[in-house]
Amino acid sequence: MKLTRRDFSRLAGAGVMAAAAPRLFAPALAQNKPLRIGIIAPRSGAAGTAGECGIRAVQWATERMNKEGGIAGRKFELVIEEETNPKDTIERLRKLILQEKVDAIHGLISTGVSLGVAPVAEEEQALVVMWDGTTQDGVKEMMPNPKYVFRSTDNECEAVMGSLLAVKHFKGKFKRVAGINPDYSYGRNNWEAFKQILARFGVEAEFVAEQWPKIGTMDLTSHIAALNAAKPDLIFSSMLFADLPVFMKQGHAAGLFEGVKLVLPAAGWQINQLKKEFMPEGIVFGHNTLYFDHPQASALQKAFVQDYVERYKEVPHWEADRAYFAMATYKAGVEAAQKALGKWPTQEQVAEAMPGLEVESLGGKGRFRKDKIAEQVFYQGPSTNSNKYDFPTLASIDTFSAEQLQKPPGADFWEWIKTAKMPV
């Protein structure tokens, strides 16, 4: 076959077009592909139920947001990996970044794990929005001025609020105080914060017992015996894993709670397991950033709670709100960055756009501060067993914003707690 000059020109033209096609159409094609969002959350062990609750919420958010057009017009899908110990979770994070090539990573509940993950995420320049797990210790060292990592509200917020409500509701009604808190930085910080707030409000308390069960300890009889022997008027416990229902059940059986006031700032995490049969009334009961039964709940919360209860036959807790909040702020960040730039933003540009954007989350409005720490709304109050459920609800709801419970940017938590203007 003879190849004419015209044929050659046609062939060459077609070749050039073919070679250029991937470059010409790559951005358009890339933007038609669904976004991939990595989720890292515990699915078993002491924090397994919390992780599942967050995953369910983020799956609900994915369904709902995708129906409404996705994120900046792009549908998105989830790639879920399990949060376990720091070493293995860092490997899962790297898998999401290097192998799955996700556009962002959400999740993480354990402080120990999140503090290990944060520097790796910064080094890999991967946008990470954490659901939880930001106890104060180590944050300054492990996450100094993060560029890509967004943190939840300080974990001590709920203890600060519980302590303030203990002052509000119980001041003058107790003298002997005991604490039983999980044996790690979260439990220790919460107990210390509680003691400092009592002191600040002039509550003259005698601290008669301190118990530190290891997370996941399912036989708490020795701890309960020690508390019983100390004869406290008030017990403060920031237990929040599967061991909290065990503590309440075994404590009830041992008569520990008779005539004793209780402050459980993180009990909402185990709401479905805290049955009325062993839960006394009048506990200062913390629901953190989502109270499922709020009478003035937003339409978004009502729709979510209704779907959740129908699908899973239990009520959601704050981890659902954290997961939804992470997704909503990420969505807002991508859309704001895309609008400002006129093109699809990089992870760095999304991270720059996210702070300050107010979004509606399940539990209320929230935002990330400039230092990439979340500000959300907290719900606690005295509990009641007079309701349609088989677990307690709140007799009255105290609502505080994170600005009232959280140290301002750059401040030291322990200095702040000594001098901050408290809302009670």
Binding site: R43, K87, D88, G112, L115, E123, Q125, D137, G138
Partner: protein, 336 residues
């Protein structure tokens, strides 16, 4: 006149024409394949090889104690913890970034600690040795967990990127880990493999095997049981400390879970999986464990169940582990 029968089976032919494959060649072959991996494997696959190298080195030492001497430690993760926290303390608290110094200090720290612990543990054998090592492992874990001001408690301590041969490597952490650090640790793996092979083939190794087979008889012929066991314990700890340093640099964190008893259990799992009766078996076990866990974790949230089932099946149907089973199959096919 009848001619004597000559074994002309395939096995005999193979044995005559090729040098017998031994554990060292298997290990070095594996390392040679790994040296080529950066040409074909993705960065993530290379990242997965780093824990393998860390565990592989640890298991070379672990098997000197378990496979060669017959002492099963349930607390060997303690030395991974010592190596990891040594790296964390030196890089984060003292600003020492030389990887060579980290390795030497980790080896020294592990050696010293194991000298004390070993002096108490190696007087016992079987379950008593296992329980004592478990107890020391948990004691160390409690120390790491409780002494917040020193160790960072549950939040651990950060391990900064080290200098290799005094050189700072630019670029991202992934590029560092999958490039110079990968080759550096792979070379270290090969050298420590050679050293361990030399140890196991030496008169000292022979003493250890004699102790494993029958300690009383060995003592009768003059083997110093306590000294030999203690030396094996210290050497295995040094390997553990070096392995822990590599794991900690890879993850960038030293945390108490590294020294937890479940991690010690993983080491036993890897050794059983690969086969503690062969030189390279535990290292192969480490590789299979790392790849299997990565795969199963991605496929199902019930990955612990799957890993447990694998262990059960292994113990029931392949008590010699992967390498032992392959060796047995090769022998059978070779008519031996």
């Amino acid at each position: 006149m009848s001619t004597p029968a000559i074994d002309v089976g395939w096995g005999a032919v193979v044995q005559r024409v090729t040098p017998r494959l031994n554990g060292l060649w298997v290990l070095l072959g594996l390392i040679a394949v790994m040296a080529l991996l950066p040409c074909i494997a993705s960065p993530y696959a290379l990242m997965l090889m780093l824990p393998f190298i860390g565990y592989g080195i640890t298991l070379l030492g672990f098997n000197l104690l378990f496979g060669t001497t017959g002492l099963l430690s349930f607390g060997h993760a303690l030395f991974l913890g010592v190596g990891a926290y040594t790296a964390a303390a030196l890089t984060s608290k003292f600003g020492i970034l030389s990887f060579e110094l980290l390795l030497i200090t980790a080896a020294l720290a592990s050696g010293l600690i194991s000298l004390v612990i070993g002096a108490l543990c190696v007087r016992y054998t079987r379950i008593f040795f296992g329980m004592l090592t478990l107890a020391f492992g948990m004691l160390f874990h409690s120390f790491l967990f409780k002494f917040y001001s020193v160790t960072g408690g549950d939040q651990g301590m950060r391990v900064l990127r080290p200098l290799l041969l005094g050189m700072e490597w630019r670029g991202g952490k992934t590029a560092f880990l999958t490039g110079p650090f990968y080759y550096y640790t792979l070379l270290l793996f090969a050298l420590l493999g050679l050293a361990m092979w030399r140890i196991t083939q030496s008169p000292f190794g022979l003493h250890l095997r004699a102790i494993r087979e029958n300690a009383n008889k060995a003592a009768y012929v003059g083997v110093q049981i306590f000294r030999m066991r203690l030396a094996a314990f210290v050497i295995s700890a040094i390997y553990g400390g070096i392995g822990g340093t590599i794991l900690a640099v890879t993850t960038g964190l030293a945390d108490p879970e590294l020294a937890y008893w479940t991690h010690s259990g993983n080491l036993v799992f890897m050794a059983v999986l690969g086969g503690s009766g062969t030189f390279a078996g535990p290292a192969i076990g480490a590789l299979v464990f790392v790849l299997l866990q990565d795969f199963v974790m991605s496929v199902t949230q019930y990955w612990r169940f799957v890993m447990g089932a694998v262990l059960v099946l292994l113990v029931v149907f392949m008590p010699q582990g992967l390498s032992g089973t392959i060796e047995a199959l090769v022998r059978r096919n070779g008519g031996r």
